[in-house]
Structures are given as C-alpha cells and as structure tokens.
Point group: C2
Chain length 337, copies 2
DNA sequence: GCTGGCACTCGATAGAATAGAGTGCTAATA
DNA sequence: TATTAGCACTCTATTCTATCGAGTGCCAGC
C-alpha cells in the first residue's frame, strides 16, 4: 500500500546496493541479517525486501534468488546516501592534486591526460569534453549537389573550422533549389551559436524543400557534438565491467559515437543532475550503464564537462568523489594557465 | 619426413584458411572434398591434412574435430597467396579515393579520420601514426629527486615538448649522484634522435648508477612511442572479433598502451614485413592477433605508418588491400596539402 | 598413389537426479 | 502490532549418464 520508505527499508536497500556493487551476486535476506548491521531477523528483512520489490526498488533474477537493485533502487540510493562528498572517499585519491600540479602541455594533452587519470582512478570509461560549442557561431551553411539524390552539407563556423556530411535525399532536388535553401539557411542561422536550439525556419511551400531543411537542421545539431573536442578513454574498462561480450560490444560502439556521448552529458547536466542511471539515459544500448557527470569551471565560467560511464552496478560514492575531485582540479588548473 | 609443400597440400591449406576465416569453425576433410575445387576424395585430403598438421601448418582443437590453421599456416598462406594486391579486393573499396579527395582539416583530424576510415573498411582496429620521432631530437635529460626511492625523469626534445616519468628505484641515490647522471646523459644524448637505438653509455663504476642509467634509457625508449602522435580507432571492433570477453579485455588493454603499439608497428616494418601473425608479434596478450602495416610516403620520405590489428583469423587479402590503398591514399593526400 | 570402408575418439546435447540457496507464508511470540 | 521461527516450495546450478555424430586414422584393395 504505502510507498513510504521507513528507516529500516532504506537501510536494507542501501545494504543491498552496497553488497551487490561489490559482489555482483544477488543479495539474500539471511546474508544481510548476518553481515549488515541491521538488527532484525532474516524473516523481517525478507518482508521488507518483498515490499521494496513491489515498490520497484529491487528485483529478483528468478524466484529463488536474492534481490538486485533496479534503476529506481540505484536512484534512491544515490539521492539519499551520496548527497555530499564523503571525506573517506576523497582520501583514496590524494594523488589527484599531485597530478594537476604536475600536469602541463597543450590543452588537448591536458584533456586527454585528465581523461586517462579519471579512467584509471575509477576503472570505468571516462569522458572529458573541451569548451562547449555555445561559443562557436555558425558562419555559413552550404549544400553542394553530388548526384541527384546525394548532397554534401558544409558548415563553416566562426573559428573557420569546416564540418561536412553527406545527406541522402528521398527525392531529387535541383541545383537552383539547393542554392535557394543554402542562402536561406545561411541568412537565418549566421551568427547563431551552434549549441543553441536551432529554430525551425518557416515553411517554404515546397514540401520536398521543407523536408530537406529539417534534415539539414538535424545534421547541424550533430555537428554540435562533433565540433566539440571530446576525449574518451578506458575502452578496456568497459570489457571489465560486463561479462557478456555483446554488452561490451554495444557499449563500445555507442561510446565511439562521440556526438551521442556529448549530447548525453549535456542532457544530464541541463537537468541539473550529476547522475543518470540505466534507462534514465534514454539510450537503449546503454541501458545497463550509468553516467556520472560534472562541469568544470574556469574563471567563473562553465567551460566544459567531465563524465564517467560505467555499469549501473557501479560504486557511486567513489565515482562521484572522483568526478568532483577531478572536475574541480581541472577547473583550477585551467584557471591558472 | 619431407617438409615439401606440394601443390595439392598448398591448395588444401589455402582452402582451410579461407573457410576458417569465414566460418570460425574447424574445417573437416569431407566438407573440403565437397565444396573446395580439389578433385580428390576426402580420404586423400585427410592424409594431406595429417601431413600438414605434423608439419605445423594446421592443428586440431581436439581429436575428433576439423583442422584450423596455426600461425605458421597463416604465414604460409599470406606469403604464398596474397603476395600481390588482387584487383578484386581493391574494387570493394572504391570509396577510398572519394574519401581522400574530400578529406581536409588539420593534420590531427586527417589522421584520426583516416584511422576511422580504415577501421570501418575492415571491421578491425586501426592505427595511424604521425610523423616518426626520427625527426625529434633529445635536448636534455634531467633527473629530479622526489623522495629517496623515487625520481622524476624529465626529457625535453628539440620541439620544446617535455616528457616525464616517475621512476621507482631499487636503492637510494643521492642528489649529487642524480645530478652527475643527468649531466652525463644529457651530454651523451643531446642532439640524438629519440628514434635511434640509444647506445648504452660506458659504465660509471657504481653499479647502482649503472642500473639507473639502464632504467632511464629504457624509459626514454618509451617516450619514443609517447611523443609520436598515434590514432587508434575501433575498440568496438575488437569486441566483435573475439567471443571470449577476457581476450577482448586483454587486447583492448594492450591497445591502450600506445607506445607498445607504436613500437610493435615499428618492429614489423623494420623487418621489412607487412604482416605479423599471432606469436610472431612477441606480445603475449596479442597472441591471438595479427597486425598488418604499411608506411605512408610523403614526397619520397616515409613519414609515418598505418596499421591494422585484428584476430589471426582475419581476411588477409582484403585487409592487405585496404591497408595498401589507404596508405598510398594518405601519402598522396599529404603530398598535395 | 588414391579411395572406400570402418573402428574409434571425443565434444556437444539432452535428460534425470540432486543439492542448496532463497523465497513466501503462517502460526507463534513479545 | 511488529517480529520471528519454521517450513514447504521454487528454481538454478551442478553432476552424471547416455546418446549422437562429425571427423579422424588406418588399412586393405584398386
């Protein structure tokens, strides 16, 4: 009946998560009664576990197994038990300061070193993004006909970088139409940051051309991710985190789509979250993953962000501590140099 | 008795490799008698397979299974049957030219795009290395004491880049000794290319210091790989190529050690080889992998190289064609711009 | 030198039996 | 009313056995 989370149930949920994160085995009631500090019998724990299951926090792999946390369970755990940074978690990473005092070299090198640092600290895959494309403005949009059904989309940004993409069209579009659309889009979009939600221009009247416009806008959005420098390290850690080889394959293939990872991180941050869990990510191949993110701040301005991708069954306190530590470290370091 | 490879045995070996590369299943004699063009009975094939096994070209996973090629078998196959580039293999990659005519952007972008191209063409992991460190000269070597047993090794190169590494010492070394060794090494090595086989300086007399020198030289060699820009793409392809998750883990972890990959490629090229197979690589975690490499030539000079890492069970003709095509394409492209 | 024939090997698959971890429920208890 | 002990029950994991069949090595005959 009640969705109420009394103290004991919360403690049990917490114990299940802690235990499962460590062992990867479903957690049984009698085991908890023995080792967790909860001073009730296994039968009582069993009852509470039953409730927790019906409320959606726990689940059973099969009838006669222990419980494992659901995404909702992890969510409650994260929201309730890892609100603030625990000093004891920070302690194990005393090397971070040392890293940032010694770190040097070009920005790119700094980012990729940071990414490597983070993946080595946590044993999960790490993502570091460079300055966000809010600061990058669209200068020009051009469509070049390759053959009747294929068009090359070119975008030049305010830093002179050129992004390109070949578009496959459903129907033929004439050269003059392409020119018209190119001019219209350039006029409409010039000076707008690539990161801004690109407004849809009013209809032109010709449905084929309207469709083309939508296609172009979609692809410009993808450039958003591509223009942004992004450093992803720790592929081998992904292979450690899962034991089904096709999960590994799925996750790695997804991480290789940098624009997807970047917009994922952006999405999480824009909701004011630090953690996104499993299906919350909204990316099917990452259903078994969680993401922990943090922006880094340079001279008061939020320049970019760092993130971490691991299994939902991850050590959240440790990872959150690591991500926080590294993001502040990186921010400070960049403010100096 | 005879290590002779008559025509039929060679044809059988070839058929086994072709079949196994495609199916990943051990190949049996009766299957070959049916589908390969070899016009003898399965019993005859069986005899030859037996010989091929005793000569080390084939092996059996277990007594009552078909044969699979050994590294030696692949080696014979590659040396005998894929000497020259087959036009039919090249045909399937007609998009390569298009890629290089359209490719643009900074050198770094060029390399990473090329790496991605290669991994997508072949479905194996691709490596592209930038200009070799033969052109990078050592300017200075410094040892800085951190604490009695740990020393920071700094190397400055002719381009002003700084490489660093913390060394763990077996025994204490005094500050003045460190200074002496630093000066000696700088004097000895200044102006030498990082890529050259660093000659061992004569003994100093103090065994501890000699040991330190060796340690420093070893680590300078590692900088060789680190200073070199290297672009490795296709982690998810590794997960496709093997179905044992810990093989995937091992291979990915090895590929993350860029200096190892770079020196591996260098080794293969320095032997004048294009292909290295399995244990030939001399790297235990890559025992199930083969590497196909090719240098790319810009204005008559060999600037860097591209490589491909896949399972020994790889499609050698196709991969060789792809690597050749991409390396010449990249060379041409870089000569222009 | 090649081939048909055949006994043999050994993994892969399926079925049956067993053990045991863990559950849900009920009746007793504080 | 909340907790607990007890117990029947469920279901996986493991082990064992039997069987199947692909593929081999060898031999005798062509």
């Amino acid at each position: 009946m009640s969705g109420l989370m009394d103290k004991r149930k919360a403690a049990i949920l917490r114990a299940v998560v802690d235990e499962y994160v460590q062992s990867a085995e479903p957690v049984g009631s009698s085991y908890l009664a023995r080792v967790s500090g909860i001073q009730v019998s296994s039968a009582t724990i069993r009852n509470d576990m039953n409730l927790l299951e019906h409320e959606g926090y726990l689940t059973q792999p099969h009838t006669s197994a222990g419980r494992i946390p659901t995404d909702k369970g992890y969510r409650y755990y994260v929201d309730t038990f890892v609100n603030e940074v625990d000093e004891s978690d920070v302690m194990q990473f005393k090397s971070v300061e040392e890293f940032f005092t010694k770190a040097h070299g070009a920005l790119a090198e700094m980012f990729s070193d940071t990414s490597r640092l983070l993946t080595n600290m946590t044993n999960y895959a790490a993502v570091v993004t460079g300055p966000s494309p809010e600061t990058i403005l669209i200068r020009s949009v051009q469509l070049v006909s390759l053959d009747p059904k294929r068009v090359l989309l070119l975008m030049v940004d305010s830093k002179g970088a050129v992004e390109k993409k070949i578009l496959e069209l459903a129907s033929d579009v004439s050269e003059s139409d392409l020119e018209q659309v190119s001019n219209m889009l350039t006029q409409k979009l010039r000076g707008f940051p690539l990161g801004s939600p690109l407004c849809k221009p009013e209809s032109i009247g010709n449905p084929d051309l309207d469709q083309l416009c939508v296609l172009v806008l979609d692809n410009l959005k993808k450039f958003q991710g591509e223009t942004e420098a992004v450093y992803i390290e720790g592929a081998s850690k992904v292979a450690n985190a899962f034991d089904a080889v096709d999960t590994v394959r799925r996750v790695l293939a997804t991480l290789e789509q940098h624009f997807l990872v970047v917009s994922l991180i952006r999405d999480v941050l824009s909701k004011g979250q630090k953690v996104a869990i499993g299906t919350e990510l909204g990316i099917e191949p990452l259903a078994e993953c969680s993401v922990v993110v943090s922006p880094y701040v340079v001279e008061g301005e939020q320049l970019g962000s760092i993130g971490l991708v691991g299994p939902t069954r991850m050590n959240y306190p440790k990872v959150l501590a690591a991500v926080n530590l590294v993001s502040t470290g990186l921010g400070k370091r960049l403010s100096e140099g």
